[in-house]
């Protein structure tokens, strides 16, 4: 579990995160949602240690990363995997070499075992045929899958996904969402997903945190999203007619069941 306690972050005096506390649970898909510019990415970057909060605490299963030594932080990083918005695959390496990169860097396994693990990861994301291709030769959806394969190569305990569906068509988005959800449950990973894709919220949102203007506005599950009266959350999630109708239908269905 990852515990975030009262983190505050400002840039040049402008507060971006305002005293946010949240828990991200093991074996669950934890979603951070909010409008563009609400502070989601800054929050994830603070959690993974790419940024340092001005104040507050962040615990990874009880380990405080802010007070952690560089050596311990390096060890902890080997328990993390991250899928970036643009996949962040290394251009000069093939898909297979990208997946092998963290293994080559840290694994004590033999080359043959590392290659076996990389092949397993590529198989897991249905990308075994594309191992020899370079990132520029594959589609956006394949790049995301390759990014996931690289993120899980070292068998991480914590998986972070920054806008995993950005730039993807709805069908591919669904595939990526389901893949992340399956991997989370299969390997009992603490997964934190930063998204503003409402399909993801409804599909895989087991624990959702809604951020508005740098502050935590609401938290709950995807079932609770349907029933909540929180106006800013409703305005954000059910901004389109389609989603409003879906919400009404879902509410009516719940009432009829009761």
């Amino acid at each position: 579990m990852i515990e975030v306690k009262n983190i505050v972050k400002s840039f040049e005096g402008r507060p971006v995160l305002k005293n946010i506390s949240a828990n991200f649970y093991e074996g669950k898909t934890n979603l951070i949602i909010g409008q563009s510019g609400s502070g989601k990415t800054v929050m994830v970057k603070n959690i993974v240690g790419l940024l340092r909060p001005d104040s507050g605490e962040i615990f990874y299963d009880g380990r405080d990363i802010i007070k952690m030594s560089k050596k311990k932080m390096k060890m902890l990083r080997q328990e993390m995997g991250m899928l970036f918005q643009g996949s962040a695959l290394f251009d000069s390496l093939t898909v297979m070499e990208n997946v092998l990169f963290p293994l080559n860097s840290f694994s004590k396994d033999t080359i043959i075992e590392q290659e076996k693990r990389a092949k397993f990861c590529l198989d897991r994301v249905n990308l075994s045929e594309a191992g020899h291709l370079y990132p520029s030769e594959i589609s956006g959806g394949m790049m995301k899958r390759a990014g996931i394969a690289r993120a899980i190569a070292l068998n991480p305990k914590y998986l972070f996904c920054d806008e995993p569906n950005s730039g993807l068509d709805p069908k591919t988005s669904l595939v990526i969402d389901e893949l992340i959800s399956d991997i989370t449950h299969e390997f009992n990973i603490t997964t934190v997903i930063n998204t503003h894709d409402m399909n993801s919220v409804m599909n895989i949102g087991e624990h959702i945190i809604f951020i508005k203007e740098g502050a935590k506005e609401w938290q709950g599950s995807k079932e609770e999203v349907i029933q909540t009266d929180n106006k800013p959350l409703n305005d954000f999630i059910f901004a389109s007619d389609l989603f409003r109708k879906v919400k009404e239908a879902a509410k009516n269905s719940l009432k009829s069941h009761l």
Binding site: M73, R77, M80, A88, F90, N104, S105, F106
Partner: protein, 247 residues
Amino acid sequence: MNKALHKFGEYTLLMFKTFAIPDKWNMFFKQLIREIYKLGVDSLWIVIIISVFIGTVIAVQISLNISSPLIPKFTIGYTTREIVLLEFSSSIMCLILAGKVGSNIASEIGTMRVTEQIDAMEIMGVNSANYLIMPKILGLMMFIPVLVFFSMFTGILGGVAASYVTPGMTPTSFAFGLQFYFNPFYITYSVIKSVVYAFLISSIASYYGYYVKGGALDVGKASTDAVVISSIMILLADMLLTQFMLT
């Protein structure tokens, strides 16, 4: 002034981060070979072409500008050799390489920064500066003496070629001039200078690429800044090294 000091501090910290013991030596050596090939071997042709032409032009220009009968003809070969060995093959060639190699390094690292590839390395626990920058700096520093030797050789060869076809110059007097009063230390001096320049080009370009913020436009700007600043630093280092080593 404040900004310059801030940049210098940032650059120094980056160099401390860069020069660390690599996590995996086999990955480091693989990168080192790749960088030697990309930054050094790939620059060989441009070095040879420019050196041949500049060597030829230097010889022809000197020949055309020496009209006094009191100045012996071998002066053309002598002066060509001195220019090529002392300044052209090290300083001028490195100014040209600052454009080619410096922009290459800054844009490569800058693109990796804006596409979050460097963040991806950091998340994995890889020291990105050490993995990306150290092989570039060491690779260029190791290979630049080879480029300098090629430049010296082909530059002088260009001069020799000119002596066959330019009126007022003979190959014999040119060859005599090339050997006249030869100081082998000038080669050492030139190689030392080029190694310092190689460090400046690769480290400054890496710094500008590593700290890019924004998008494609900023990568382009970083690339230009890297070339401009490393060129200025080369000239400054040239002045200082010449003072220290030749006076």
